[in-house]
């Protein structure tokens, strides 16, 4: 808890990677957390119809430092990955990626981007 606002989290929050929209996305999904007002949209471009590799990805929306940093890091993590790998990502992977521990309420913020991404893939 002490250092959830670490340098790298704040850096991703202030300078989000892959932030914005794609011209011709193959898939997209957005979710809104009405309790806290976090809103995240993820757009994907898939390469190689068979292997289903993510060629490009963007996220947009607004939220707290945790959800925004999680989205930003996640887009970096899954770039050029196969979607079968992405489907397997779970809570622990996100916590490892962020490198922090979170209370149950804040965990929801951290997991929102993964949920959006996995729904985008299935859409």
């Amino acid at each position: 808890m002490d250092d959830i606002y670490r340098e790298n989290i704040l850096d991703h929050y202030k300078n989000p990677r892959n932030f914005g929209k794609l011209k011709n996305p193959t898939a997209s999904f957005s979710l809104y957390n009405s309790a806290c007002g976090d809103k995240i949209e993820i757009q994907l471009k898939m390469k190689n119809e068979k292997l289903k590799i993510i060629e490009d990805i963007r996220f947009s929306g607004e939220g707290c430092a945790i959800s925004m940093a999680s989205a930003s890091m996640l887009t970096e993590k899954v770039m050029r990955k196969n979607i079968h790998e992405i489907k397997k990502l779970n809570t622990q992977d996100i916590l490892d990626m962020l490198g922090i521990t979170l209370t149950p309420t804040r965990l929801k913020c951290a997991l929102l981007p993964l949920e959006v991404l996995q729904k985008a893939i299935n859409s």
Binding site: L10, S34, C36, G37, G63, A65, R106
Partner: protein
Amino acid sequence: MLNVSKIREDFPILKRLINGKPLVYLDNAATTQKPQAVIDALVDYYSNHNANIHRGIHTLAEEATAMYEKARERVAKFIGAKGAQEIIFVRNATEAINLVAYSWGRAFLKKGDEIILSESEHHSNLIPWQLVAKEKGVNLRFIPINAEGYLDLKEYKRLLSTKTKLVSIVHISNVLGTINPVAKIGKMAHEVGALFLIDGAQSVPRMPIKVEDLECDFLAVSAHKMLGPTGIGFLYGKKHLLEEMPPFMGGGDMIREVYLDHSLWNGLPYKFEAGTPNIADTIGLGAAVDYLEKLGMENIFKHEKMLTEYALSRLSELSYPSTPLGAGLRIYGPKTTENKTGVISFSIKGIHPHDVAQILDKEGIAIRSGFHCAMPLHQKLKIPATCRASFYIYNTKDEIDKLMEGILKAKKIFKI
């Protein structure tokens, strides 16, 4: 004036340390803490008087019934009702509003009728009406709010017509702290023959309320926001209106005579209290009312105004670029306490309210972040999630200074 240091001794939870720091509890609009007197009332009931009420003739049943009904009388007196029959115990303000929507709404509303609400309602004074409106073909109309959160009474006047059957309005906004001119709104409703419901969830805890003065036909209140236990609240309704309304739920206690094919309803208030009620918490509510009356609602109102004024002035140190501490903090709703009390919502540029709340929590300071169950208001004023600090009888100026320090700390962590 309140003797705050003495009051603080009555609240065991205020001795708690949160993350090693003394608790600074500024989430009173969500729920208030409980004084020892209320906790004792619960323990005493369960330890010495526990029994089901209105049925048994043994000693405990008589005692429990008397204590439960005594609480009703206290509540009735507290809000200036004509009699205890006008007080219906429910779970919370939400259930009180639902009771009116389901009982009165279903019995008396017809297709094409109109209900007037405002854009600043808590979801609990919106969704029940949406449900009834859909079922009965009734139209909902909304009094617009301006940027300060004030209701546009000119537009309200325009909305009123013979089609208006009910006006239901929040007295004090749980987001902006705006005090709405309910007596005037009620008078205008009555002029077209409509009924008037006040959502008193935030006002009854923090100002003197006499239903007669407010032109109010129904009043919805939660005990947990006024020192009482959770799981208990009440609906005030004018006797003749409650008498005309059909029961809300069926079961024991609400009937007089029961046959297999029909029944005769019990009188007020029992017609609306089916089944074994929340006896212990009702008695706890009675103790809370006693506690508040001893302090005096006028004194409580003054104390909160003083705190709100102080918090507004401290927070505005962060609102203008010209101030030494820099800009970035925005206060929503009225900026003075002329028509505002108890609640301040704000945001800090560059830091999400969740992050502010988290950093404050590390300092032992509890505030709320989010939409505060009033999404339409946030949409109308185009405000994202906000931070909300809300005060009560045990808060001090010193705690507001701590809030300021916490905010500066958050700005430091986020380098803004």
